[in-house]
């Protein structure tokens, strides 16, 4: 997309230049990445992908008055704490997902005993805390287990045994797909049929690829289905033509984020921090996710979530 803009003359008479860095989703590396970008003099950052890494880098961008927009960070505190006025995102925050997961488990699946697990990370734990709060507030289901697992541990057999002995009918997991696929694999190998509900960190095709047959039947919340949005169709088509593969999980969010950012710069007439953030908060932009703008805290207005289930190896939207 940036190439399209540049071939049609760039914006405000300047070409958009991309500096691409990989923080490998680790907070300690994200700070290095951020410092590198700041010293290279970037105007705007699109990213990062993981909430934990983003949180670590945010302070550096804030001090340098750089606007950062993430296509995928859903940790509520990033916007709700109010500490980072320079932060925006094109994805709804975790409390929305947690609410959806709990309501789905209680009202649609009608389970009575629920275990909540998380990966101790900013994203997973944040989500799990909300799920726990909503479960405690409800008298229709009981929270039987609340645990954090160590990401990257050699195996999870002890936790899996614990889930089994807690009698949970459903597990709500806050975290990313590597841990989710390990846990679900070990649960199924032990012959457990427990329902597994997770978040958009798991609603990724890599999860299905890695967990294989064990992924079948897993529920995960993810951004609203946009497959009928003409802009989305066009964007995905363009990606396929350029790179010859299906785009990744947060492609449309990232695409929308760049649309919003470039539009705001255009409207602001410069890359000035105050002008661009004002434009982001006032202008509505047509994106593949629908018409979106940003509220005071930096959350996108108009981007939502719904529930998906793995059926025959693909995520299918469920209307529940």
């Amino acid at each position: 997309m940036v190439r399209d803009i540049n071939t049609t003359g760039g914006i405000l008479g300047r070409k958009v230049e991309l500096l691409i860095e990989d923080d490998v989703c680790k907070p300690e590396i994200a700070t290095n990445t951020a410092i590198k970008l700041v010293t290279e003099g970037v105007d705007i950052v699109l990213g990062h992908i993981c909430s934990g890494a983003t949180k670590a880098a945010l302070g550096i961008y804030k001090d340098s008055k750089i606007i950062i927009m993430s296509p995928s960070c859903t940790n509520p505190a990033l916007t709700q704490s109010g500490d980072y006025p320079n932060f925006f995102r094109t994805i709804a925050s975790d409390d929305v997902q947690a609410r959806l997961e709990v309501d789905f488990a209680i009202d649609v699946l009608k389970v009575k005993k629920i275990a909540v697990l998380h990966d101790k990370g900013d994203y997973g734990k944040g989500l799990a805390e909300f799920a726990k709060k909503y479960l405690k507030a409800s008298d229709k289901a009981k929270l039987v287990l609340y645990e954090g697992v160590t990401p990257g541990a050699v195996d999870y057999s002890a936790v899996v045994q614990k889930i089994k002995h807690s009698g949970a009918e459903a597990v709500i997991f806050g975290g990313y797909h590597p841990e989710a696929s390990k846990i679900i694999g070990q649960m199924r190998k032990k012959g457990m049929e427990t329902v597994f509900i997770s978040d958009d960190g798991v609603k990724d095709n890599t999860f299905i690829k890695v967990a294989g047959e064990y992924a079948e039947g897993v529920y995960a919340t993810g951004p609203l289905d946009t497959s009928n949005n003409p802009m989305a169709i066009a964007a995905i088509e363009a990606h396929k033509n350029t790179y010859g593969s299906e785009p990744g999980a947060f492609f449309l969010n990232a695409y929308s984020a760049s649309l919003c950012l470039l539009n705001a710069i255009q409207k602001a007439g410069s890359t000035d921090y105050d002008a661009v953030s004002r434009a982001l908060r006032t202008e509505y932009v047509d994106t593949p996710l629908g018409k979106i703008s940003f509220d005071e805290r930096g959350d996108a207005i108009g981007a939502g979530f719904c529930m998906y289930q793995v059926q025959n190896g693909v995520y299918v939207e469920i209307n529940g």
Binding site: D22, V24, K120, E147, G148, V149, T150, G152, A153, V154, D155, Y156, S157, A158, V159, Q161, K162, K164, H165, H177, P178, S181, K182, G185, Q186, K189, K190, G191, M192, T206, K209, V210, A211, G212, Y214
Partner: protein, 300 residues
Amino acid sequence: MEYFLELVLGGLTRGSIYALIALGYTMVYGIIQLINFAHGEIYMIGAFTALIFTSVLTLLGFNEIAVIVLASLSAVIYSSAYGYTVEKIAYKPLRHASRLSPLISAIGMSIFLQNYVLLAQTSDFLPFPNLIPEFEFIKQYRHIISSSEIVILITTSTAMILLTFLIKFTRTGKAMRATAQDRNMAMLVGINVNRVISITFIIGSALAALGGVLIASHVGQINFYIGFIAGIKAFTAAVLGGIGSIPGAVLGALVLGLTESFATGYISSDYEDVFAFGLLVLILIFRPAGILGRATAKKV
């Protein structure tokens, strides 16, 4: 009671994997007093090699048993070659340098190997096929122990027995013990110390590769970073048991695996690592050389 048994078996399985890796740390330390931080990466490379070979062999239409055996064998050979090369490139030139230099070199090697696999393969998690079929006779007990756990326990015990035999009863083993006791003296009586060191690295790497293949098949996924945590835990196990001592490494690994399993099972998995490392601190306070380690007097 059943819950207790499940936790014990889970802990033993995890401990066995730690043990396979910890042996490499402890053997190398025993002989050249070096903590080989690149050892976890050898374990990771073993898992990757097995994945590549499994895919290729399955495509070529080999049967299940042949795939398991050939893939594990290739992982072992490939990792051993890495272990051997790492020693030759990164440690041998520093043999007479101060003890800190090879240590830093080891950390460098670890970072290099991680990034090498990251670039050569992928940063994504890759699915690892379940190499071990579900045994029929175990089906009704699979909620307690799965067939891959049984295979891990059996393979590890067999490897330990073979290793003990090698060290206690063969000429090579004798040379290794002599080198561990006094390198200069061993050289004087005609032992080719460089060869002994190479053999030590090869054996350690082979065991780590075996651990890598077993655990990858058990949990069904790998990525370039798995060696780091497994390596740190195995290193902890080696220190816990007394670094330099072979039975100590195995004991330390099993104790660590069981502690983690019980901490998760009866308290909370949030504190899994707290208990594991808390135990390490406690043991080191009362037995600074580790459970089976011998305190050596140093001439001042």
